[in-house]
Subunit: 360 residues, 2 copies
Amino acid sequence: MGEEAIRFGILGCAEIARKVSRAISLSPNATLYAIGSRSLEKASKFAASNGFPAHAKVYGSYEAVLDDPDVDAVYVPLPTSLHLHWAVLAAQKKKHLLLEKPVALNVSELDQILEACESNGLQYMDATMWMHHPRTHNMFHFLSDPHHFGRLQSVHATFSYGVSPYFLENDIRVKPDLDGLGTLGDTGWYCVRAILWAANYELPKTARALDKPTYNEAGVILACGASLSWEDDKVATFYCSFLSDMAMDITAMGTKGSLRVHDYVIPNKEKEATFSTSSNSDFVELSIGWAPNPCVHTTLTDLPQEALMVKEFSSLVGAIKFSNSKAEEKWPTISRKTQLVIDAVKASIDNGLQPVQIKD
Amino acid sequence: MGEEAIRFGILGCAEIARKVSRAISLSPNATLYAIGSRSLEKASKFAASNGFPAHAKVYGSYEAVLDDPDVDAVYVPLPTSLHLHWAVLAAQKKKHLLLEKPVALNVSELDQILEACESNGLQYMDATMWMHHPRTHNMFHFLSDPHHFGRLQSVHATFSYGVSPYFLENDIRVKPDLDGLGTLGDTGWYCVRAILWAANYELPKTARALDKPTYNEAGVILACGASLSWEDDKVATFYCSFLSDMAMDITAMGTKGSLRVHDYVIPNKEKEATFSTSSNSDFVELSIGWAPNPCVHTTLTDLPQEALMVKEFSSLVGAIKFSNSKAEEKWPTISRKTQLVIDAVKASIDNGLQPVQIKD
């Protein structure tokens, strides 16, 4: 790791911060530089057990991380309701921002965060890790192929994981004052991103929540679905849940082919991931089989997707820091589109499942 | 083949009748006995090229098949708009009925067909062939397992095949006076059946068509989707189309596991079919993988699913004919439920995507 390594500060000791700390360690252009928690003891323990170098800074507050002039970028895995405050403050303190999802409670909050990053010349990226897996690029290549996939007609995405009774009582993701979007913000975020990704980030025109969302006693969504439609004939559906066993599917159907993946968010295995495609299939004589048959494609990766995310983010930060580049607009743009769709689905849930127009 | 073999008559020389003729030949308890077409020449050609024995009867009308006292059962692959007339007449002539899907234009027509079968003590079965594949039984066994699948939460089904420009101009499935339900009756039938099957045939309470159905110039549906919901928290979606490349997916998510199949209607290969399951999966330490990983299950079959359908149907017909058994009610019951859901989706499409209550 040369002097050019981007120095990360982490705000808080969330469980997910352990995985991202490892990713920062693994990334060739990033370094674990500081950790801040409201409890200095917790921060010290976290640093000790998550591969922070001996010289890393350990702070007893989030502010202290932001006030450290040697921190280049912060990773923010705080509860969503705290994002607006800490992300904006981080930007004001000139820290590039890797923001855990869901990035905000709504697009109005996100716009304040994005404005703070933009006006300070900072790179923003949300921590949607699977976007950085080389399999994702290979799948996107297939979806972009006019001869083997054609024009997208329909896409269905799922993400669920069966949570424990303890989670259902205590996790921040079921608390209205912490992660008010519940599973829609947590697992639904990935479904919406998957759909946007499959549609080459064309924003749908309409969102409608499906019968019937499940809530906890505090009114937080535990399971829900929605349908999306575009100006043309493309359509999409998704289903996200805390109440079903693990599932992470994308089924994308095009005029000339289709694509399936069953572990798009977190691959079954870290270094080897598969997806399957079918192209220009027809029935064989008498319609007793297919020709050609679907294919399975395997992608190998040395660096896990989380490290590839950190590497990409750090590379953009480095270009700004060392080469006066401008921030890459793709990441805030797709983050905002994801939030716009989430907001529309939430509005549809709140208005009795009426369709909601999505406006940029 | 003993004397007990059920003697089939076929009404019409539809393309699909070629596959079912082969299935009748392959089934150990059935025999190709008669073919009728409005053209005697067509019927003769069909018999000659589809394995009919030399002594098979070849008729220049459908009536003649029904009037042949030695015909036990008829297979009816006529355009849907002709089903009511010919299926009821067949029943009046005491012929057991294997009816191609979509079975009727609406449930009121189907009820007349079912009443004619029932009052004449006849077996009715629709020709939803994949129901009879041993893989289907294996999958159902998994879905019924309280420890490995749990309670169904969500199911998504697809069926599409990319049709030719010729098909889009000329096929009966795009003609309002022949198969007025278009792709909803053709490919949607399978999606709805798959959803009912996954829900152990519990009828949903509500159907709502999704934005936005695609029609041809004559107003026949070429692509559409719908969401279904039950009294409890189960939900389902499907997408059916003539405009996407081949796809036949079921994704069923339960509280403790999930199931995926990608060729449920017609397996990729005739004698070997797979599906995959996942059960009680959790993230590994640091959430960088799954444990346990999903499993692939392979089912081998000597007889193709179409022959197993004919065998099952003939066995039921034989029990009535030779052992005074009563008709098996499962088959008309699930056929009627499928039609009820199709009708509700069609009604929702016709009423501007409003929800439609499904009443038994």
